[in-house]
Each structure stands twice: as C-alpha cells, then as structure tokens.
Symmetry: C2
Subunit: 351 residues, 2 copies
C-alpha cells in the first residue's frame, strides 16, 4: 500500500479533478506489475497495472491487487475498473479506502465481492485520506480544498508600509511554495498583490506544471501590463470580477486569453463562498491562497480555510502590513505542527 | 569533561557571580572523586573534589584532574586552587577553557605547568563557553548577560488591547520560563507589566530558587499593593527609579524591604545601559527581560540583548499590543534555532 501511495503521488498536478491512485499487482508473493493514474481522462491506475501485467505475458487468475482507493464501478471517461478486476479473476483485492464519490461509494467493492473475490478495505487509511485530501473535500462538499500560504516576519508583517514584500522568506521557503504551486490546481490572490508585487505565480524552482492563476479584481482596475496577463501567461489566468465591472475591460482581458468570471459582490468585495463554488464548477479541486492580507482575512473570517502554511522569518519589520488583520483565533481545535525551512520556520495548521 | 559540565550545572542559580565549575579526579583510569562549586563563597569545585578523594583515603600523586574552567591562582573568598593542585602532585590536568577573568587569565595554568604537571586546555570548549555564558559576559564586559523572553501570538501580540496577556503561552512554555527564572540572577520588567499583570515573578512550576525581581518605575507610580512588594517578596525586589522620584515613596518601598536604585533618565525613560551597569555592581551577572513591549524596545534598540527566547503560540489575536513595537531587524547575523514547546514554538536567537 505504501508503494501504491508512492505511485499515486506521481500523478500530482495532472489528474485533477480525479483522485491520485496507484496500483500494485502481486502474484505468488512477488510484485509483477504497477500502474498509476497519470492524467485526467487517461486510464485508471488499476487498468494501467493490469495492462502492464498482461503485456508481460502474465495471466492474473489467483493473484492479488493493491490499490489506495476503491476501484470505480461506473462509466466515466473510462470503463469501470471493478469489472476489469472481476474479469481477470483476482483472488484478493486490498483497498486503502472506500471512494467517497457518490457514483462509486461502495459499489466497486460490492461488485468485486459479489464475484467471490476476497476484499480487504482500510489499509493505511490515514495516509490514503491525506494523499487525496483535495479530491475528498471536493466530492464530499462540492468545494475546493483551500490552503492559505503566508510568509511573515516574527512580528506578523507580510510587507513593509510601502507594500514591499519580496524576500521576506528564504530561498528554501520559496522553493517549498513552488512545490505547493505544482500540486495545487489553482493559486488565488487579491488585486493588491498583483498591483504591488506583480508576481508570475508560476512554478520555477522545482519541476512541475504551473497552476491556474486566479485574481480577484472586483472592478477590473488592474493594469493589463501585469505579468499574469502577458502572452503565454494570460491563458492560465482567471479574473473574478463584479457583474458591474466595465464590459470593455472584460472583453480586453478575454482577448488577451484570460478567463473572466462574474461573481456577485457582498459589501463591495467578492463573495469568497460564491467564488469557491464557481471555481469548483470548473473542476478546480484545490486552491492555494497566496495573499494579500485583505484576501486572507476574507477567507479566514468565513471559515473557508482547510489548511495554513505559514512561513515565519526570524526578522522584525517594526511596522508594515499585518498578515492577518483582525482575524481572531481561527485555529481553535486545529492540529499544529512545525517544520524548519532554511532559516525560516514553517507552521502548518490543519482543521 | 562532559561529567564536569554535568556537575558544574548543579550549582545553577547559587554560585553567581562566580562561574559554574565541576571537577573529576581520575586515578589509574578510574574516577575516584567528583566535586562542584555549590554556592557563592563556598569552596571551589577542585577543592571539593580533592577533599572528597582525601577523605576516602586516596593519595593523589600521579592522578589526573579534569575541570571545565582554569583553576584560580588568586586569593578570593578561598585560597587558590592551582596551588592546591600543585601541592597534591597531580600528573595531568585537563581544562575545558582558560578563565577570562583578569585575575586568573592563564596564571592558573602557568602555575600548574611550572610545577611540571602536564596541562591540556580547550577540551569541549564550546560547551564550556555555553555553561558559563553569564560569567564570561560579566567578567569580560562588566555587564550582565541579557536574555529577552517574550510570549507572543502568531500575529506578534503579547496582550490584547485591554493589556490582558495571561495564558498566551501553554503550560509547557510557562514551565520553561520558570526554569529560566531559576537560572537567571534577576528578572526585569517595566512598570506596565506590574500594573496590568501583577506577576509574582518567582519560581513555581519547577525546583529552584527565586531570582531577584527588578522593576523599572521612573516616577514610582506603582501601587505598593502589587504582589512583588508584599511581605516575603519585597526583600527580593529592586525598583529602578529617577533621582527625581518622590523621596517619601522611596522610603516607603525601602521600609517594605525592597531595594530602590536611582538611575538617571534619558528622554524621560530609565537609561537601560546605565541600569545594567548599576545592576552589575550588585554582582548580577544575568538578567532575563520579561516585558512589556516598551521595555523590550528599549533594550533591543540599544543592542543590549544577547539572547532571545520567543515563545510563539499558534493563535491570532487580531489586534492588541505588539511585542516588539518598531524594532527593526535586530537579529541580523544571529544564530536562530527552533524548538517545540507543547503546542507553542520556541524561537531562540543568539548573537
């Protein structure tokens, strides 16, 4: 199962909104084939592993199949894996966790059991839940998994009073942020972050694909010369704005290749709940909120954050922009863990 | 030498302004006696170890002596240890580090070598420097070692806007603070901390002696009903005030048993440099600054802090009193390390 999870993680960044799945086939106590779900729309892990075994000339009757998530029982982009398993007359199927997705939810297990195959479920379940935390949140709530990333000084500042925020955190911490970007479907920022920092919001320091870039700009006041609207960048940028924003600016952004989504305002700001629901309809299962302070506060106050990754640099700014504004104790009942990241500290807070 | 350091630490809190010293005597490859400096004014570690060996009936000719600090060569409260070592005709003396105190500073080593005894110096030197960091700062600069302890939330607050600061940190962290108190000669606070928190500033959660309590109250406006002025407490409390403070209040405090020290003001606040020099004349080799924000800022800005122990609770206050005010980057070129303390994080910063 540990190996299934390793294989599953190879699909990171490419399978969404599908889950990360790895599969191992064992015959006479020996691993004879492996497979994982490589990209959305492609064959599932079980099919890849079975195909690999068959290509090597194995018959699978009497062998065992390990997989971190319940095999599917429905026709999606591909035919059901449970039927394939039954067809190959496996002796035993070991499953990390039941699939919470309503179209599967036990139906895969039932189908396999009915064929007289032994099934064991809940093996390394905690690790299986962790590997698919995006998928699980998405299929059980209809909302993306939301992680808030911040880089602050010890005195809680994310920028000086002139909004300069670059290089608060160390190269080691910035590299970790790029790893996060490569694994989240989308990163989300407020308009001030784009205005003052002009970030690229892409993946540079590590291997991996760029995330979608979401910027909240209610009245579309941002300059189109910002990096995220440039050629080669704009087509992965989505702007959330008010229906009352100038239609001409909407058209201009769309012409550059950016997506423009109209979401209602609430007290003059974009309704964060509504924005997340809208993004989930696009198949976005995970969002990393990268700032700034105003955007953090909105998501925190509405209780929309599932996980925090807060980098703390051992520096004092002595004034400037507070990371979390007036947010009061959103971490009650949370699990907190600490990691060192170069000279910085990384505080991870989970619901 | 490791054992010498263990023994040395047993004197923690009781030997100041003397150093912490442990001594081990080895004969024919076997430890035959140990000793440590137990309290100020009492015999040194070497004398205690030698006396212990002699009491057990050993002659020490040809044996080896291990000690973490150079044996003294001068008459202080006790006769010189170097002479005692020579008298007992040791074969070899292993010394952790040279004594930086000007009355010793190599003279002990010279005296022992002159008697034909083999001497090895600088064994586990880094650990020896660490164990006596208070003593070394004191004898080399004439100033006490200054550690700043703070307990803040993740957003950098030490109290809410009504100055309520209790229980920001966890029981585990508070216990550590009591350990610090038991090892520092004195704790120092500003008048607002006494006014709003009314702390006892004593050692409760661990074994150990109470530190001296120093409070800075320029015009002596503090209510004498505060805990630190109560019977059984006042005689370990020193108030630093302006020479212009009311003489009647000075007399009142002295009658309660408290010490009152007049120090000049600079820009209406107590001159932190001058205060530390004054405290050092009382034989205070180490001071822990416990707050509040105003006091922290004064010491930080003047570059008087040798070490920081900053507890960070994984909470957001959303407003309140900033721990470090306008202090800007005092940690440049410092060594930073992180420790977990219950649910809190402890950030240690050393010059």
């Amino acid at each position: 199962m540990q190996r299934c999870l390793e294989l599953a993680r190879k699909g990171t960044g490419f399978v969404s909104p599908n889950p990360l799945v790895g599969c191992v086939i064992v015959k006479n106590g020996k691993v004879i084939a492996e497979g994982w779900h490589k990209e959305y729309g492609g064959p599932h892990a079980e099919r890849n592993a079975i195909n690999s075994a068959v290509r090597k000339g194995y018959t699978l009757t009497g062998s065992e199949l390990y997989v971190n998530l319940e095999p599917c029982a429905h026709f999606g982009n591909t035919p059901p894996c449970a039927e394939l398993i039954v067809k190959h007359r496996f002796k035993r199927v070991v499953i990390g966790m039941k699939d919470p997705y309503h179209k599967v939810a036990g139906k895969g297990i039932k189908l396999i059991k009915k064929a007289g195959i032994e099934v064991k479920v809940n093996v390394l379940k905690a690790e299986c839940l962790e590997v698919n935390k995006f998928f699980i949140k998405y299929v059980t709530t209809g909302l993306p998994y939301v992680m808030l990333k911040a880089a602050q000084t010890l005195d809680g500042k994310i920028a000086d009073s002139a909004f300069r925020s670059k290089w608060i955190s160390s190269p080691e911490s910035r590299k970790l942020v790029h790893e996060f970007r490569a694994s989240y479907d989308a990163v989300l920022v407020g308009k001030n972050t784009v205005k003052y920092d002009d970030p690229s919001l892409n993946v540079r320091d590590v291997k991996g694909r760029d995330p979608l870039r979401i910027v909240m700009d209610p009245m579309l006041t941002l300059d189109i010369n910002r990096k995220i609207f440039k050629a080669g960048m704009a087509n992965q940028t989505i702007v959330l704005c008010s229906p009352a924003a100038p239609k001409s600016k909407m058209a201009k952004l769309r012409k550059l290749g950016a997506g423009v989504l109209e979401v209602p305002l609430k007290a003059k700001v974009i309704d964060a709940d509504f924005a997340l629901r809208k993004l989930s309809t696009l198949g976005i299962t995970s969002v990393m909120i990268e700032g700034g302070a105003f955007t953090y506060e909105k998501f925190i106050k509405k209780g929309l954050v599932d996980e925090y990754m807060i980098f703390v640099a051992p520096k004092l700014m002595g004034g400037g922009i507070d990371a979390f504004g007036k947010s009061f104790n959103p971490f009650e009942q949370s699990r907190v863990s600490y990691y060192q990241s170069g000279p910085d500290l990384l505080i991870n807070i989970r619901r």
